[in-house]
């Protein structure tokens, strides 16, 4: 029984030491990220960022070369409404003739 108590004590010490160490280690890592890495991020901004813009521009060019879906939607909407109005006018004309 005594040895069991001793084992519990050891496990307790291990738990305390372990948790304190894990928290201390990962907190240090937080400090590392917030100081060193944050500074590095400002000093050496990503070279990929302009590339991304570049590809966006390219995409835009490609899109403007073709017809964008938004424009197609607007045109087809306009055509539809024109047709509807037109057919209503025809209808009313026909009614008037009668």
């Amino acid at each position: 029984m005594n040895s069991m108590e001793q084992q519990f004590l050891e496990a307790g010490t291990l738990m305390l030491a372990g948790m304190v160490f894990v928290f201390a280690f990962l907190s240090l890592l937080i400090i590392f990220i917030k100081t060193v890495l944050a500074k590095l991020a400002v000093k050496f901004p990503d070279p990929i960022a302009p590339n991304r813009n570049h590809s966006n521009k390219k995409k835009n060019k490609v899109v403007s070369g073709e017809i964008s879906p938004a424009i197609i939607a607007v045109i087809s909407g306009a055509v539809n409404s024109y047709r509807q109005q037109h057919s209503q006018q025809n209808f009313s004309l026909q009614k008037a003739k009668k």
Partner: protein, 377 residues
């Protein structure tokens, strides 16, 4: 007549022992879980098959000179296989979410409470007749709470090789059960309003940061916890290969071919430890029970820590992402995302949960290092 008896004696049927038959059925059970239920099939399939092979009478797969014997001693006893797998995992890990929101490291740290609390449980189980766990055994069992297969196998092979089979089976089974174990605990500990919390978008992380990060982690481990450098070192090597962008071939090998080959051998090697005398005892039941406890406590302490952080933080933190602190990448993060979506269909937590998720990997590697340093010596 004499030769007929000899022939009969050389068949499997004449030499089967009950324990071997039961262990073959256990192997079949693992195969069922892998094939029919899709539970961690990459590992449970070779592991289940290894268990069948090792229990074949006369063939002597796991005796000196047998195939599984060599696989075990070459790769698992030496700790090489889990470390190679850890390198592959490093090459697949993106620390972006963690670097963008470093506070989540605290969640990964608090979820490791599951490991250390289970130490207590394992020692307490010594009161049960038939169970006798030393502090080394207890540490190896407790690491199941880290929810990290390679780490668990690495530590068990160093501290309690005789329990390795049961520990690996428990670790991988519970990792497969993460979507079932975690959500009830997460719901019980949070209110619906907390689950609805939407988090601010993460800042973009530069390439330089991602390259320096693994080096920084390694440097800190060298300074403060050299016992963890095998795990952390291999992990950081894999991650640096990925993020540096100059060795895409090596990075791709580490996260594909190499990790696949190693997984086959690791599964077989662990399966070879599933022999009747090592597995069929009360201690295995104790290990399975402790594994579930470890997982649950880890999940709960992650969620509770996230709740506390949400109270004190200016930026809202959804407590659900705390549950991802138990590593089990990326399953735990997906679970957090899913439970979040249930409460609020516009709430996508996946990227936010990846932060504590990879923090959990680091946390459990650090915890393993501590156990190795304090108990293993």
């Amino acid at each position: 007549m004499d030769s007929l008896t000899k022939l009969w004696l050389s068949t499997g049927l004449a030499n089967f022992e009950l324990g071997q038959v039961i262990m073959m059925l256990v192997g079949c059970g693992l195969l069922y879980l892998a094939i029919a239920r899709n539970f961690e099939p990459l590992l449970l399939l070779p592991m289940g098959f290894g268990s069948i092979l090792t229990n074949i009478p006369i063939a002597g797969f796991s005796e000196v000179g047998g195939l599984l014997h060599f696989i075990y001693y070459a790769g698992i006893d030496t700790g090489i296989f889990p470390l190679i797998i850890f390198m592959g995992v490093g090459a697949m890990t993106d620390f972006g979410a963690l670097i963008a929101n470093p506070k989540t490291l605290l969640l990964g740290a608090s979820a490791q409470f599951g490991i250390f609390a289970t130490l207590f449980g394992a020692i307490a189980l010594n009161a049960v007749p038939g169970i006798e766990f030393t502090l080394k055994d207890a540490s190896a069992i407790a690491i199941i709470g880290g929810a990290d297969g390679p780490t668990a196998i690495f530590l068990a092979s160093k501290l309690a090789p005789e329990l390795l089979g049961a520990i690996a089976v428990a670790a991988y089974s519970y990792m497969a059960l993460v979507p079932i174990i975690q959500p009830p605990i997460m719901r019980a500990l949070t209110t619906i309003d907390e689950r609805k919390i939407e988090m601010a978008q993460l800042r973009p992380v530069t390439k330089v940061e991602k390259i320096i990060f693994p080096l920084g982690v390694l440097l800190m481990t060298i300074f403060f916890l050299p016992a963890a450098t095998p795990l952390v070192g291999m992990f950081c090597l894999g991650n640096l290969m990925k993020e540096s962008g100059v060795v895409d071939r090596l990075s791709s090998t580490a996260q594909n071919e190499l990790i696949n080959i190693t997984t086959i051998f690791l599964g077989l090697g662990v399966g070879s430890k599933l022999s009747a005398e090592a597995f069929l005892n009360v201690e295995t039941l104790g290990i399975l029970a402790l594994g579930a406890v470890a997982f649950s406590i880890g999940t709960a302490s992650g969620v509770l820590m996230a709740k506390v952080m949400n109270k004190f933080s200016k930026v809202p933190i959804n407590p659900l992402i705390g549950a991802a602190g138990v590593s089990a990448v990326p399953m735990a993060a997906r679970v957090a995302n899913k439970v979040g979506l249930e409460a609020n269909p516009h709430n996508f937590l996946l990227m936010h949960a990846m932060g504590p998720n990879v923090a959990g990997v680091l946390g459990s590697a650090v915890a393993a290092g501590i156990l190795l340093a304090l108990v293993g010596g």
